[in-house]
């Protein structure tokens, strides 16, 4: 339980550099007010474009959640596949 609060606290710390993160790198355009055309879109494309137009905050949450969940799902599936072909990994010894 304590560990999860430490994780959340550290995650929140990442918010502070938001004002200056990447200040020295390539400039990223701020398309906060940009809207995309919904014409001809269907299914998931329409869903993403709709939220992109409606609320960038919700769009950002959806993107982050989906990327996280898809990452977890792919990790689980590939683990099963690799186990089936005999390439499962276990704790390794560290040799420099």
């Amino acid at each position: 339980m304590k560990r999860i609060w430490v994780v959340i606290f550290n995650f929140c710390l990442l918010i502070f550099p938001s004002l200056v993160w990447g200040a020295a790198g390539e400039k990223v355009p701020d398309f906060a007010a940009r809207k995309v055309s919904l014409e001809g879109l269907g299914g998931l494309n329409y869903f993403f474009a709709h939220w992109y137009n409606d609320s960038k905050m919700v769009f950002a949450i959806i993107v982050t959640l989906i990327m996280g969940l898809v990452g977890v799902a792919i990790a689980a599936v590939t683990d099963v596949i690799l186990k089936a072909v005999g390439m499962e990994v276990t704790k390794m010894e560290h040799h420099e």
Partner: protein, 342 residues
């Protein structure tokens, strides 16, 4: 000819070849899983070469890096390569450092010096790190022999081994097997964060060597722990760039598919390559990145991107070959009844 592989990207509002996205993701996944880095410095030129709108490159890349690093970190954790305590401290220390680095850049910008100073600092860092790691690799046997002689001499004289720096409070990291001063740990991560903020980069390629050479982590644990840190920065980057409206989720999804497969390969390959082997390949990789930055600085068109792409693909090929060789050897040893030692 390959138009049937095109998919419509609803946010970038154009059609793009899905196979290219999967392939770029795959290459970055292999490298990320093997070296413990995010790989944004490969993705951006790769996307640029294939005509992906640059406005969406960074945000889309960070979105896929978040998903990929979940896959890679989960696998490294299974292998015992993630020191979560160290990873969480690295995040906390880096946060403050990033702010410091970015403030210095802002000050340099007011003086009109930010561009050249940052670019040359980046080159010095890449070449300096790369050549130091090459030197480390080629002198490892000599230094190991000298260290052994020193330890034997100390043991013979009955003297206790001299600790380099043990300013309390000391922190113990059982996963890495190290006990180190709190001030060293936070100082190192403040410095790596400072460089990240100063250069405007993710910092994985700075943190990984810092974990090895300054903190003293075994190489494989440095790789896994660094990926754990990249997971958090990737998640934050995905969200913040999503709010800015510069993430194309469809493109990120296809890149993630490739990256997740590549990461499985890269992470598994760590099992079959010794720590110094990983360091050697990492050194070559960042020297090539330095050459790319040098070509960009001297405005040699296209070649800067070609160097990065060729380097990335070549390194992927080497990692995959190492994986296949190691897997075959392990299988043969198991069949012969001998446990594998890698």
């Amino acid at each position: 000819m390959f138009d049937f592989l095109n998919v419509y990207l609803p946010i970038a509002q154009l059609e793009f070849n899905a196979a290219i996205l999967v392939a770029i993701g795959f290459a970055v996944g292999v490298l990320g899983g093997f070296f413990g880095v995010g790989g944004a410095w490969i993705v951006t030129p790769a996307l640029n070469i294939f005509g992906f709108p640059m406005a969406f490159a960074i945000g889309t890349d960070l979105a896929h890096i978040f998903g990929k690093s979940i896959v890679a970190t989960a696998k490294h954790r299974k292998m015992g390569n993630v020191d979560m305590k160290l990873g969480l401290i690295s995040i906390a220390g880096s946060v403050v450092g990033v702010e410091g680095g970015a403030q210095v850049v802002m000050w340099l910008t007011t003086l009109g010096l930010a561009g050249p100073v940052v670019r040359y600092s980046y080159m010095v860092l890449l070449f300096g790190l790369g050549f130091y790691m090459l030197y480390d690799y080629f002198t490892k046997d000599k230094r190991a022999a000298a260290q052994a002689a020193k330890s034997a001499s100390a043991a013979a004289s009955g003297a206790a081994p001299r600790k380099a720096w043990n300013l309390p409070p000391m922190m113990h990291f059982p996963a890495s097997g190290i006990t180190i001063s709190f001030w060293t740990v936070t100082g190192v991560f403040f410095f790596t964060g400072f460089l990240s903020g100063f250069l405007g980069v993710g910092g994985g390629f700075i943190r990984m060597p810092a974990l090895i050479y300054i903190i003293g982590c075994p190489t494989a644990i440095a790789v896994g722990t660094d990926l754990f840190s990249v997971l958090f920065s990737g998640a934050y980057g995905c969200w913040t760039y999503g709010v800015k409206g510069v993430v194309d989720i469809t493109a990120a999804f296809y890149m993630l598919i490739g990256a997740a497969i590549g990461a499985q390969i890269g992470v598994t390959a760590v099992k079959y390559v010794r720590g110094y082997g990983i360091r050697l390949l990492f050194a070559i990789m960042i020297i090539l990145a330095g050459i790319s930055v040098l070509l960009k600085q001297f405005e040699v068109p296209v070649f800067d991107k070609i160097v990065v792409m060729a380097g990335a693909l070549g390194m992927c090929a080497i990692i995959i070959v190492k994986l296949i060789q190691g897997f075959k050897k392990e299988k043969a040893e198991k069949a012969a009844g001998f446990p594998g030692l890698h």
